[in-house]
């Protein structure tokens, strides 16, 4: 049986930072190779050290891409996706050193420069991903209050049903106000709305404000309508429920959004890298 730790150890610190050490070692070796070989006229991708570092970088890119496949293929063998993620992050970072040394600090406006730029986009988006994975999960958990996403949505539907019932005895105008909450209130919406969790002109908020103003007037007159007070209570509860689920979706969107840059940029990088390698061998 596989041995099991009794504590949670995140992917960055996996196995006492094994892959961090490996990445530093590989980077150090790359720097040593670059510094110790005397390239003429000046270091570039065409020297022995350049080919060495270039081949290493290309192989690394291919292996790093395999994480997408690895995480989806559930095999029976003893593997740990956490170890893969750890290696992916640290070796991915070492690529900055290896690939930059491979260029010999000569970057031009051509397909080679494009490959380098795309690689940096992938790495920087990945860095943001690491930042997000380190900071957002705690917020996500704290916001959930043990409710699952389907439960949060169901709670809103339940409140809608209660609002619908509570609105039956109301007059035409008040009923129209409640309809704002029922019909013009969205949870998700555009990317911007999902990301910020803010929905300007949210129907529920407008309905709540309108009913709150009416209840306020009635209270000052000393004769609040219990039906309307109950309605306000429901609208306020729905507001709180909406805020929770919107924040939930906002955090989840932030946890996923960077992947929508990271992954397409990776495929673009693979294409540019192919062009880079082919052009070097065919036309150099």
């Amino acid at each position: 049986m596989a041995s099991r730790g009794s504590a949670h150890e995140g992917f960055l610190r996996h196995a006492n930072g094994r892959w961090c050490k490996v990445a530093i070692l590989v980077s150090g070796l790359a720097i040593a190779v670059y510094a110790l070989t005397d390239a003429t006229p000046r270091p570039n991708g065409g020297t022995f050290a350049g080919y060495l570092l270039g081949s290493l970088a290309a192989l690394l890119v291919l292996w790093l891409t395999m994480l997408g496949l690895r995480k989806r293929i559930i095999t029976r063998g003893p593997y740990s996706l956490k170890a893969w993620t750890s290696a992916h992050v640290w070796l991915g970072l070492s690529l900055i050193v290896i690939a930059t040394l491979h260029t010999g600090f000569q970057i031009g406006w051509n397909v080679h420069g494009l490959a380098y730029a795309l690689m940096m986009v992938v790495i920087l988006s990945g860095l943001y991903g690491v930042y997000a994975y380190a900071n957002l999960p705690a917020q996500l958990g704290a916001n959930r209050h043990e409710a699952t996403q389907p439960q949060m949505l169901e709670a809103i539907r339940a409140l809608d049903r209660q609002l619908d019932t509570a609105a039956q005895p109301l007059g035409h105008e008040d009923a129209a106000t409640v309809r704002l909450s029922l019909e013009q209130c969205r949870v998700g919406g555009s990317l911007r709305q999902r990301l910020t969790g803010r929905q300007p002109g949210c129907g529920n908020r407008r309905a709540r404000d309108a009913i709150a103003a009416r209840v306020d007037v009635q209270r000052r007159q000393g004769k609040p309508d219990p039906a309307l007070t109950q309605l306000l209570f429901l609208l306020e509860r729905k507001d709180a429920a909406l805020e929770q689920v919107r924040r939930h979706i906002a955090i989840k969107t932030r946890l996923e959004l960077w992947l929508h840059i990271h992954v397409p940029a990776t495929f673009a990088l693979l294409a540019a890298l192919t062009a880079h390698v082919l052009s070097v061998f065919l036309y150099w």
Partner: protein, 844 residues
Amino acid sequence: MAEHYRIAIIGSGPAGLSAAAHAATLGLSHVLIEKTGHLSDTISRYQKGKHVMATPSQLVLRADIAFEAGKREAVLGAWETAAARAGVNVRYHAEVIAIMGTGEPIAGSLQQVVTRRRDGGSDRRELQRCAPPYRLMLANGDSLVADAVILAIGTQGNPNLMTCPGSDNANVQYQLDDPAAYNDEHIFVIGGGDAGIENALGLAADAAQRNVVTLVNRSAEFSTAKDANVTALMAARDAGRISIMTGTTTRSIGPGWLVLDTGEGEVRARCDRIIARMGSAPPRGFVESCGVAFASSDRLAFPPLSAVFESTAPGIFVVGALAGYPLIKHCINQGYDVVEFINGNRALKPADEPLLEARLAGLPGRHGVDYWLEMLRSNITILNGMSPLQMREFMLDSAVRSYRAGDVIFARNAPGSSLFGIASGEVLVEVDPADTSITVPIPAGSIVGEVGLISGRPRGATIRAGSDCIVVEISRTAALKLMSAVPAAAREVARITTERSLLQIFKSGLTPADLTDVIASAKVETVRAGETIIREGEVGDDIFIIRSGSMVVEKAIGGKTIFLNYVPAGSHVGEMAVIDGGRRSATVRAAVKSEVVRLEGEAFRALLANRPGLATRLREEMASRTALNRFIESRKDSFGGVVEMYTGIANFLVDNGIGEATDVLLIDEKLCVGCDNCEKACADSHDGLSRLDREAGRTYAHLHVPTSCRHCEHPHCMADCPPNAIRRGPAGEVTIDDTCIGCGNCQRGCPYGVIRMDSVPPRKPWLIGWLLFGQGPGPGEPDSAWRYEHARKRPEKPKKAIKCDMCAGQSGGPACVRACPTGAAIRVLPEQFLSVALLDRDSG
């Protein structure tokens, strides 16, 4: 003059119907008495379209009615046709209320009938048995006479009836077949158990039916219902779909209305229909009043029967579930057999003969089944009280093996909850894991493995065969049945357990003779979850051995209760006060429902006086506990909130069933990014169905316990599995095998809601096909739309119970943990995790 029959069969379930069909085929005069208006009421109450299974598959069917696995409707249809063809004489709507012998009183044959009163006391009366023929009194005042009576009434019993005025009204019903059949009604559901809550939820599920549903519960809380049901009920109430009235009883009922007694006085309400689900009275009272004795007062006990199913009342035969055989196939065979026996064919071998032959095949010598059954029964002390019929059933759940001298029977720390009886030869217990040459012999006739049976924890020692020996392995289910059927066996197992756990705890050369006084003072006590057995600061010197369940040790430090330790079954607490004579230094309370053995301090002190070595050993152990106390206290000063956080987390975990778990999945919400890769991995490594719900479940201080199996020490799911399909595997995992009949008992029994009933979805296309061309639903559990679309071409698969199997047989260990990209998911053993290691968690 009452009608006179040769055989009267009560109950038209599989057993009764089969008996009647065979009696009809043989041309015996018979009557089949059925309470309702149709055959086989229990099975006809199964959900519409339910797949009825025919296990055990290797058992041959011997009957005049056909039976093979299929839909409920098909099975019932086949039986009705067979009954009509055989010419069965059925009397519908007839309920037997009493059976009395009409012959001479049988000298010395008295039946003790004990009725338990609500207040906990009991009434005892004696009943003189009389010889057959029997007079059967029916509820409508008719009576009939029969030479032999076959009781095939099952164990369902009759629903408890409403007793208030007007309860015989037509709008009162005791079951709900189809919630969708009622519209626009004001419906009151009486009873807050699972049945009542499920009915109420069913009636209110579809708002379009416009039912006004009210649930009425006598007590203030829903203590007998499952948490998941109570949660769903509260959600339905909050959503305004159901009203709940607690602390309320019904006063009277009339057409279109009812009057309720609430805490605030009487309430009259409109009511079109009342569905009363107030539990059911087990048939035991009726059966006993017929002169049929039960083996013990245990709730699990069955009537002792002769080899031909005859009960203690001559001429009254018991078959089917009431005889302890819940599976349909057994019932049908018994119905056939019992009629053969009554008809004089006493030489008939039961249909399970080939099964038993297979079980006993590997044993030395060329002996028949009867020889081995008798050999085991007479050689093993705890089996002495069994009848030949019980031995047959017992052997179906057990295995007999022969071992060569030196063979390992089971190894230390291996999981297992079965009991071993030594039929011949002797076995050796390796008491010291460091030195396997130190052993204690256990002779033939005795038992080993009883600690695993009672505590559900891994084996405490390796057992080897001392000489060539024959050992019977008794599954936990069979052992529990045995102990309720033979009270002497239960007492013997309890005595041996106490003695051995004492010997194991205080290893310093004690012999059973030293312990006689201590064991004489021993009392087995059941402790409710949360109940305190030792209170800090009190005077007391009793010692407790935890037989099953687990305890938590707490101490008040600086006005706050601090969690000190988690004590699993097999350990002992309370010896510190005996040794240093002071007051109790900490509080010990049960984490889950537990059983403890209480040993009197007085008897123990006498033992210590004779054995100075023992006192030294205990002092050493005490020193380590005192050191732990001091450590916690020192951390308390330097870290303040950390120790409280530690206590908070420990209590949270214990509240969530970790106290009875053997292996539990925990998720660190500071690392979990919500990718659900754990669920996808689970589905992809198990036929496409996930056994875990990551997002659901409780959370405390960013530590999340998802809805996933805890592999309990005494699994609640195992308690009532008719085909005995739930077992503990070699790595400690609790799994359900292919013999599952899909009855859903385990799902209802699980307090953590981790079992689901589902059928295996169709196979998904290749993953690369999805990646490149978008074929199929991708990784994880396919959605219902895709399943529906792709399932139509194939025959429908039955729904079975599925749950976590801890990825048994997969070399990498649990897929959920392997597939977690960030390290948020881990599986832990509770005693490892509920330790000082928790202190190292960040206090954030």
